[in-house]
């Protein structure tokens, strides 16, 4: 490096383990260094055998420019010592498996660590196991499946799963957790919507379900977990043995919210007290479950397709819709009308977004441009971009904290695994 170049003082700190810690003295470094250069300096200081990429934080933001640009943009004095915190960088993911389906994959759910659920336009939902084999096939809907929610389980052997469909109904299934290939039929059917049901969410205590529909209503249903005991199970088996179509227990909604004026596209039930809903009428709303009151309405400039609640204190709402911008809103500031963060990197509409279940900083989005992106909200640039599908990506979700599942309009269902990362 030429001698004429300017140097700045940099000190490194970290919260990583002692084997990845460098001494806390200030180094004099040339200003043209960017993340890569800094990472290599750490690597040489630590004398690591293989290259390990690090990411650097300044003032709660990830560095994506050279040090010079950083100094200029932050208006720092060239004499001050720059304190940079370093963390492990997230490497590009590897494709674990890719499964063909018969039609578009419209819903995935990775809440349960032992299996993944996917819903398709061929009206079937499927349970997949970690080795990539298809377990049970959930047969019963007469039209495309739009969304899948998991409502916990009453015992260790099976999982309560609720699916919503374009046939205006929701169905409850009991999916066995052990790998076995079988065809299941539904235990319960939820009828009442006047149009295609677009989304479904269960409350954290797994007693109630809410669903949003094209008829622009949100309906709340009770699962009634007490009824479904062994009798039900026996009846199920009997039915399977008989092969005859018996009437399934029907459930009707106990509450309906009608404030939305357009299709309700996404729902989330982060706590038992309240529900979040996003709609094509450009707004997302918060509802109090006890009183059925719409407690918060935020209006966006575009129709919303997806919504996810998470982040710090589970109070940040990420929304995506009919434009390539992911918006993050802070519900603790109800007076504000603008998102706290707008992330633009996609080139087409955003189809789904999901906060990481443990990390308050990581976020996953899928878009109609065929990519799935992982974001760290400390940076305006996505951490990783995967060109997951050849066509639109319709849905994506986290599974087991380091794996991403996605489904798209190319009728594929894919799993990507990130190299081990420490979520901070």
């Amino acid at each position: 490096m030429d001698a004429g170049e300017r140097q700045v003082q940099v000190r490194f700190t970290t919260r990583l383990g002692s084997d990845l810690r460098v001494e806390a003295t200030a180094f004099s470094l040339p200003v043209h260094l960017n993340r890569y250069g800094l990472s290599q300096i750490i690597n040489t200081l630590l004398a690591l055998d293989g290259p390990r990429p690090f990411d650097f934080l300044f003032d709660g933001e990830l560095i994506r420019t050279t040090l010079e640009q950083l100094y200029l943009s932050k208006n720092l004095s060239a004499e001050s010592i720059l304190v940079l915190e370093y963390i492990l960088a997230v490497g590009p993911p590897e494709l674990q498996s890719s499964q063909p389906e018969k039609d578009w994959v419209s819903a995935v759910n990775g809440v349960n660590p032992s299996l993944i659920l996917s819903g398709s336009y061929d009206s079937f939902a499927r349970a997949w196991f970690p080795d990539g084999t298809c377990g049970s096939v959930l047969k019963g809907h007469s039209d495309a499946i739009t969304s899948i929610a998991v409502a916990g389980s009453s015992n260790d052997t099976d999982l309560d799963v609720i699916t919503s469909s374009k046939d205006k109904t929701l169905r409850l299934w009991k999916v066995p957790l052990k790998p076995s290939s079988s065809t299941l039929s539904s235990v319960r059917i939820f009828k009442g919507h006047a149009a295609s049901v677009q989304c479904v969410a269960a409350n954290p205590s797994n007693t109630q379900v809410c669903s949003g529909s094209w008829d622009s209503t949100i309906k709340l249903w009770k699962i009634d977990s007490e009824d479904e005991d062994n009798e039900d199970e026996q009846a199920l088996k009997k039915r399977k043995l008989d092969g005859a179509k018996q009437s399934i227990a029907q459930v009707t909604a106990f509450t309906t919210h009608k404030e939305h004026t357009q299709c309700v596209a996404a729902l989330e039930w982060p706590e038992d007290r309240y529900i979040f809903s996003a709609s094509w009428d450009h707004s997302f709303r918060q509802w109090d479950v006890e009183t059925s009151i719409n407690t918060l309405t935020m209006t966006c400039s575009k129709a919303l397709h997806c919504l996810s609640v998470g982040g710090e204190g589970s109070l940040l709402v990420a929304t995506g819709g009919a434009d390539p911008v992911l918006r993050i809103w802070d519900t603790r500031m109800p007076g504000t009308v603008v998102p706290v963060l707008q992330l633009t990197s996609h080139t087409s509409w955003i189809s789904s977004c999901k906060w990481h279940r443990q990390s308050p900083k990581h976020l996953l989005t899928s878009s109609y441009d065929g990519t799935v992106k992982m974001w760290d909200i400390r940076s305006k640039v996505p951490l990783q971009t995967v060109e997951a599908h050849k066509d639109k990506v319709l849905c994506t979700d986290w599974w087991r904290e380091d794996t991403v599942v996605s489904g798209g309009a190319d009728c594929e269902f894919k799993l990507f695994k990130y190299t081990p990362i420490e979520w901070l």
């Binding site: 490096m1 960017n34 890569y36 293989g50 994506r64 490497g91 640039v381 990783q384 971009t385």
Partner: protein, 616 residues
């Protein structure tokens, strides 16, 4: 072959049926043709039984325009009217009234012809009169309609207020006088409510923009100069318009004054009126009535005032030689009271909107003195509207030139003999520029004897035009600085104010920057991904840098692709819309060329300047 023939035959039959149906349709429904819908002017005159000048007058008063039928069935060079409009005129009471008046005139001429002076005189004094009140009501069913349509009336009334009463053009002095009164009343209302928003002094005259009842009204007033009445203007038409507008503005003023809880017409201070300080006289009167007081109290206050003015008149008659001194001291007292009341008034009116508040406070603590050579009425209007106190060189002035409180003296002459050190001697343009930008500009460039900076029009949206003059930029920066100073707390009132002022400009800039930012982010994302890949592959940093340099710019930054979808969209348009779009594009390029020309000129002027300084 056979099938082809049959198909063509079928087509023929179908067409014939269609044509027959069409014929039947028009025949049955009686969709009226042009001949039934329109009528030529001559026929209309016949139908109405009036002469052309009378017809013209009626049309103006009723607001009826000639029409352009698609097919001019009685020749190209004729004027057509809607039959409906003519029938509408037929029912006009004024028509009957004008006939009556004409008959009456005949009586007078007959009496004169018979040398019956007595009768002629009596008849002359008892002429029937008419009003246009019902027409105002008919044409403007709601007040807001009238306010919305006030631009032309105000321009016309202000024009007639400055015209000389002229017998050759039959401009009667009564008309001029009442126009003058109406325009002053209007200005007094605007001053009182601080609703003046923009001023632009042009060669044509002075443009004012006023916000009344939420409507922005822009009107033009002539400069106060000797007006020459041109020969090629039909004053009869102008006078008819003025006649109607007079009635209209009278109604509007009445309503506006009553909305403030004031009497209409306002009572003028006779002494000040004599001293030709009409606007001030009016404003003094207006300031006398408090806003919060209900009408009744106001009326009683007026009664209290009345004997005082009578007393004054008496004293005027008694001691004319002392008059001037007394008048001066009284006027000063009046102005002091006036200002006291104004200060009180400031504390009320929490209902005023933000804009009005900023306008009211602009010149709040400043006192102006107008020199003899500056346009007094316009400056008086502007300064008072923006909350300043003002006096002038002349009769009836509230305070003299040597008063210590004066902070700014407005002068428009090359040199000034005696100068007070305590005040700024500025040119009139300073007042207008300050008012337009809502900040107190530095007085230095506007000082006596200097060439002031360009007077920029507030009606031009610089950023939309594409060219921001240098001085506009300076003013913008000044405004930013002032507003930041005024915004100590984020949430305080002035903070909101600042936000509102800047929001529009910021939004526009944001749009420009957004595309660039996006490209930057994309480049960052790409380089980050590339880096990570290289690092994992185990390449060293310095090598990486060279490799990155090899990558051509176009590859790093995706070229903005916008032509293709635009062309597609253009193809999808209908022909009408495409033509419209082309016209739009053409005008845009024209605008751009204009801007280019201005920039080129500016560059040349700068160069010349530089050369000059170099040679010096």
């Amino acid at each position: 072959m056979c099938s082809d023939l049959s198909s063509s035959q079928v087509k023929q039959v179908k067409n014939a049926v269609k044509a027959a149906k069409r014929k039947l349709h028009t025949g049955r429904r009686g969709n009226p043709g042009n001949a039934a819908k329109y009528i030529t002017r001559n026929k209309a005159l016949n139908r109405l039984q009036i002469k052309l000048p009378e017809f013209r007058r009626l049309c103006i008063l009723k607001g009826i325009h000639p029409r352009e039928p698609k097919k001019k069935f009685e020749g190209q060079n004729k004027t057509y009217y809607h039959v409906k409009d003519i029938n509408f005129l037929l029912h006009e009471p004024l028509l009957e009234k004008s006939r009556e008046i004409r008959a009456y005139e005949k009586k007078i001429t007959k009496a004169r012809a018979k040398y019956n002076a007595d009768l002629a005189h009596r008849l002359q004094n008892n002429r029937p009169s008419f009003t246009l009140d019902h027409l105002v009501k008919e044409r403007y069913p709601s007040f807001i309609d009238a306010v919305r349509d006030l631009e032309d009336p105000l321009t016309m009334i202000h024009l007639f207020a400055t015209l000389p009463a002229d017998t050759t053009h039959s401009v009667p002095f009564e008309r001029v006088h009442s126009c003058r009164r109406l325009s002053l009343e209007w200005q007094a209302y605007v001053t009182r409510t601080h609703s003046l928003r923009k001023i632009f002094v042009s060669v044509k005259g002075i443009y004012y923009q006023v916000e009344v009842s939420g409507q922005k009204i822009t009107y033009l007033t002539p400069h106060v100069l000797n007006q020459i009445l041109p020969e090629d203007v039909d004053f009869r038409v102008m006078l008819t318009f003025a006649e109607f507008y007079e009635t209209l503005l009278g109604f509007v003023n009445f309503k506006l004054y009553h909305s403030l809880g004031l009497n209409y017409p306002p009572v003028l201070d006779p002494r000040l009126e004599q001293a030709a300080a009409e606007l001030y006289a009016l404003m003094k009167d207006l300031a006398g009535g408090t806003t919060s007081a209900p009408l009744l109290e106001d009326a009683s206050a007026k009664e209290d005032d009345a004997p005082v003015s009578v007393d004054e008149q008496q004293s005027l008659m008694e001691a004319e030689n002392k008059e001037k001194r007394i008048a001066e001291s009284q006027a000063r007292l009046a102005s002091l009271q006036d200002r006291l009341k104004q200060i009180e008034k400031e504390k009320e009116k929490p209902q005023d909107d933000l804009e009005t508040r900023t306008c009211r406070r602009l010149f709040q603590n400043l006192t102006f003195f107008l020199g003899r050579e500056v346009p007094r009425e316009s400056l008086l209007f502007v300064i008072r509207s923006f909350g300043g106190a003002v006096s002038w060189d002349g009769d009836g002035a509230p305070f003299p030139e040597n008063d210590e409180v004066i902070t700014h003296q407005i002068v428009d002459r090359p040199t000034q003999g005696h100068k007070f050190l305590s005040r700024h001697y500025v040119q009139p343009q300073w007042v207008y520029d300050c008012a337009n930008n809502r900040i107190l500009l530095p007085t230095e460039p506007y000082l006596l004897g200097r060439i002031p900076p360009p007077h920029l029009s507030p009606f031009v949206d610089n950023e939309a035009e594409g060219h921001v003059p240098e001085y506009a930029d300076t003013i913008k920066r000044l405004r930013l600085a002032v507003n930041q100073q005024l915004a100590p707390l984020p949430g305080s009132e002035s903070g909101i104010d600042e936000g509102e002022l800047l929001v529009a400009a910021a939004a526009r800039r944001r749009e420009d920057l957004e595309a660039e930012k996006e490209r930057e982010l994309a480049a960052m994302e790409k380089s980050y991904a590339e880096d990570l890949r290289r690092e994992l592959a185990g390449k060293s940093f310095s090598g990486e840098e060279e490799a990155l340099a090899d990558v051509p710019e176009s590859e790093v930054l995706p070229p903005p692709k916008e032509d293709d979808p635009k062309d597609m969209a253009k193809m999808m348009l209908s022909r009408n819309k495409r033509n419209l779009y082309q016209a739009m594009e053409m005008s845009n390029t024209k605008k751009k060329e204009g801007v280019k020309l201005i920039k080129e000129r500016k560059r040349k002027a700068d160069e010349k300047e530089r050369k000059k300084t170099r040679t010096m």
